[in-house]
Amino acid sequence: MSAVMEQPSAGPGVASLLLRSSTDRRRTWFDRLYRSVAFLAAVLCVIPLLAIVGFVTVNGAGALNLDLLTKPTRALGIGGGAAAAILGSLQMVPLAAVIGTPIGVFAALYTVEFSGRRAAGVIRFAADVLVGVPSILVGIFAFTVFVLPFHQFNAVAGSVALAIIIIPVVMRTTEESLRLVPGNLREASLALGVPVWRTALSVVLRTGLSGVLGGVMLALARAAGETAPLIFTALGNQLVNVGNLGKPMDALPLFIFVNARQPYPAQNSQAWGAALLLLLFVLVVNVLVRGRSLGRRAR
């Protein structure tokens, strides 16, 4: 220490420490290497989405026409369209929302507003595990409970299976947005003599509602593309089924699944068209919901 103090002009000695050594050069090189690897991984992470969008667009754009949207399936699959599948999805997915949304939302309200910390932890854990349960198992479950006893594949069973898929997703996203509601709003409401349940519904849920709705939309977009839960339940149907929920019903993913496996190019092309339709729906919902929350975060 004293050496430095006494020789403030000992420039060469101290300054020489600044010169790049071989270890420094190696460190810089490693730094660049890891940086590049991470960047490459990030690129690979984005590529699948772009590739899927690209492939589906290229192959499906030609098949996505008015016939596909409006015409029912023809026998032998030559000509015709995906009307049965579109109408089927338009019935089963909303029904799944009707069944699953209240359960998911109220479960989230319970864990955020009412339950103790431990119960909330258990419920959250169960929901997270349910998200990870393979969807084919959900389909088998719905098959056992809603198909076997009736000896009839039916749309309700399909909706129940989809509802089971969306419940944990809705529950977790709702929970996230309810937790963001400031505690002082709860206090303000309770201090007005508003009962706890009313505070939970009219203040907390209402304040977090946009986040909740976003979560529901994302869950529905996910459900609209689920195939496995429908194979054992709604089964699929070449005929248009509107309103008869006790009978088999077609859905877009089932339509894609069936037609993609046929040996006829016309049917393969219809599958691509339906795939593009499904992709557009999922993309639009995701961009709307996520774009909005992205903007909010950036603000």
Binding site: L185, A188, L192, V194, R198, L209
Partner: protein, 317 residues
Amino acid sequence: MAVDTAPPAPSDPSAVPPAASQSPEQGGTALAPVRMALPPRPVTPRSTAAGGTGAGRDTSSQGHLEITRLNAWYGSFRALKDIDLTIRPHAVTALIGPSGCGKSTFLRTLNRMHELIPGATVKGSIELDGIDIYGSDVDPVRLRRVIGMVFQRPNPFPTMSIYDNVAAGLRLTGRPSRPDLDLTVERSLRRAALWDEVKDKLRQNGTSLSGGQQQRLCIARALAIGPEVLLMDEPASALDPSATLRIEELIAELKESYTIVIVTHNMQQAARVSDRTAFFTMDDDRAGYLVEVDDTSRIFTNPRERLTEDYVSGRFG
């Protein structure tokens, strides 16, 4: 007066007596029509002369709080120790003291908000006009409609308009009719000295107002449910000086009709707005206790306790 009495059914026509047609600009009685217009509450309107459901109860001392040997805990931590305090009706009582001495905790025991915190407990008695608010026959939800509260940070409901914020208490606790609501919202906003600034934009979002306006909106929201007592937890500490001044002027007006208890860190504010001042501090275990309570002028000029004098003269805290 019985806090636990069931209110008449909302459809009871006597709940909206002819008094509602009185001129609102009659000084002391101005409030009566507001209260008449409210849906039935467990507490009778203050002015029985104005009609209404008043069953000949003593209305002169409403809003009188008598606190006896009050203790409060957070889990095993004792936050308040043996508080004895009388809060006079229709006066402003300021609670002052160093940070962490339990002023806010004490305030929250008065409307039973304290017990909402997991593990929080209370022992002792608080009587509002002779009724023990911790009695087994008192519902804390009802109590909070009689003892309103304004918080440190303005907290209007962000999803609601100005109008809806003021109407929230009534809407979420009953089914008020539209004319009643209109009347109550206007009266409450007038009482909170906010009406002239917002009357043309009642449909705008409550959070579009300035901080000071938001706080007056929160005061209007608290007044709309027709409380007897108003608890204020540092209501001006998040506001700029001119907004603070307006709140202080407002407090001076409100004490004509309400019993006000205000926690403040600002001793000048306590001296300006309050009639009585209670000085809290904490003991070696960090449990808050009341050192003394007296007329504000006396606390700031010639307190009985040495501790108080040290604090108000800035020697500690």
